[in-house]
Symmetry: C2
Subunit: 368 residues, 2 copies
């Protein structure tokens, strides 16, 4: 049903204000702020979304009310960023308030306990917070429980694809999730969907780099570490007390190529090409396709988690992918024979900024 059904009549006089703090002014942050103006209008009858701070690692604009359309020019007058100023400002803000972390910074994520102490709900696109060492992560969870605050992080895996929300929904409805597997990297998805053995794999890596699909050093993608991190997020979503190192990782790189400088890697790229050509030939002979897959099994309280190159049957759920797609395959008590599958672009400005607005809309439900 559309949300019009939830609008309460005659509430204009007592409209709640949600104070919104945006950390991170990169591409996704800028897109989030661009979309904010129309969201302020959409929610105008239900809640006032008040943009009251914008910051990045260099500057902070801490101001009662910022026009979201004109944030960029206002931000050009921002003062230098100082952690203590930010925390004091947050503590003084009237509740409800939310800090939206669109930075890539682990240092910033380590301030979450301070933000919670200041009374802020949290929305994270930043994967660093949800993948902190277990003890720190648990401290954040406990602080949230004590203060009745929420932490939404649905864009940390799969951008706008609501995989965490769907998993939470199953758990809240009484289902038991047994297995989550999938392809969590749009870049590696693109590479393996394109690769058909006729072009050297490293040529595709170069193309992907030129298209802006890879990290500056493409080995950061090929290492699988980002996929490993995302699998940790989903494992913790399911309540598994896991650390990054508990997740087996087989990089999409021959052993010697992971280290050293980038130039050295390109010189040895033939090893990578050979590795892929062999795997491709073997897979095709068995009517299979190559995917860089993550999988997590929960059996009798035991967790098995790993990230690796696999050959999957042509008709398997992981096979039917468009380039750049992420896919999530959930098997549970209720979804045993036919799993529940979510698929779509796992990265991109619009879907990530949109996913952050989905988190904000979800928060609005509980604070208005």
């Amino acid at each position: 049903m559309t949300d019009s059904k939830q609008v309460k009549p005659g509430v204009a006089a007592s409209l709640t204000t949600l104070n919104v703090v945006v950390a991170g002014t990169g591409k996704v942050g800028a897109e989030f702020l661009r979309l904010l103006a129309s969201q302020q209008q959409r929610f105008a009858g239900q809640i006032r979304l008040n943009l009251c701070a914008i910051l990045n690692s260099r500057q902070a604009l801490l101001s009662d009310t910022i026009e979201s359309q004109a944030w960029s020019s206002a931000f050009s007058d921002a003062k230098p960023y100082q952690q203590a100023n930010l925390v004091a400002y947050l503590a003084a803000l009237p509740s409800p308030k939310v800090l939206i972390d669109i930075t890539p910074s682990q240092d910033f994520a380590r301030l979450y306990p301070a933000f919670i102490a200041a009374g802020c709900h949290l929305i994270s696109a930043n994967k660093q917070g949800v993948t902190l060492p277990g003890a720190e992560y648990q401290q954040i969870l406990q602080a949230l429980v004590r203060s009745g605050l929420r932490w939404l992080s649905n864009t940390t895996v799969g951008a706008g694809i609501p995989v965490q929300r769907v998993m939470q929904e199953l758990l809240q409805s009484g289902d038991q999730i047994r297995e989550v597997s999938g392809v969590f990297s749009g870049t590696l998805s693109w590479l393996l969907c394109q690769y058909d053995g006729t072009t050297a794999f490293s040529e595709l890596v170069l193309q992907a780099q030129q298209l802006g699909y890879t990290e500056p050093d493409p080995r950061d993608d090929l290492s699988g570490k980002d996929v490993q991190r995302k699998l940790l997020v989903l494992a913790r979503e399911l309540g598994a007390e896991l650390e990054l190192a508990d997740i087996e990782l087989e990089p999409l790189l021959p052993a010697g190529l992971a280290d050293g400088d980038l130039a050295g890697f390109w010189q040895q790229r033939q090893q990578l090409d050979l590795m892929l050509a062999e795997a491709y030939a073997k897979a095709t002979a068995e009517n299979k396709v190559l995917r860089y897959a993550a999988s997590l099994c929960l059996v009798d309280g035991q967790v098995q988690a790993g990230v690796r190159l696999v050959a999957v049957d042509n008709k398997a759920p992981l096979a039917a992918l468009a380039p750049c797609d992420n896919i999530f395959v959930i098997t549970s008590d209720w979804y045993q024979q036919n799993p529940l599958v979510l698929k779509g672009p796992g990265a991109g400005l619009l879907v990530t900024a949109g996913g952050l607005h989905a988190d904000l809309a979800e928060l609005v439900k509980s604070v208005r």
Copy 2:
């Protein structure tokens, strides 16, 4: 994040009670009630889920508190069902309260305005309410807005697959949905996934009937009317003011076979077999597969909706289906090149009863 983060400390003293009324004691209703006991425990720290009425078209047990584990024996003592008694009982129940409609009855859905007047939130597995003639449907929506009540109906399409919830989330986040297409019938999905031209199509229909996958008269499935009804639900979710008759319908039946008695249909089954054999041969020659698909396009305020047998490319999203799967393909401003895809079993006791508990858990968020 897990919901543990949302638990508020020290609220036991002021715990809200949500009064739960269950209408419909068929297979899904019984499964819903079986799962209720563990959900009452799950939410015990947050809200008291009080089962206080169970009814079907013959009997009604209207009782302050019913032990959900022992509902069946308690229900055997139920009095005859009388509409006026039910409405008076609902009106007298303390709020918040929810009526969960797991009946197949249009007459019962026509009582929704009375249930809303009595202060009930609604959860419907019954498709009749969300597909009433437009004027009646709009009256229900308006009554809900006036009274600040919610109507959740996520199991009416795709059972537990949260397609409506995901569409709402996109709309609430500021996205514009342009197209929704998919396979909405598990039965027709099974038939077309099994059919490979070697066995007559009508033989598969007989098999599906024996497996309990079809309606008693399989033409009720082959007519496509159930798919048409589900597409209407999704169209209205998007705000389109549509009636059933506005959705073009090409049944999976040759023209003469839709009417008359069932024995006559089986006598003429060769016509059906011929129709499918021809379509299959044509599709295979083009490297395509057959699917019975629904599609809805929204362009400049214009709506085009239809339900028909189509041949889709081997690599199209609709192709990659397991037997019984439903699939939903959403194209929007954000999901243009790669659509957002949801897939899974579109029917079944557990996934439907589970989906109703997902709706109940969603309602709990807003009333606790």
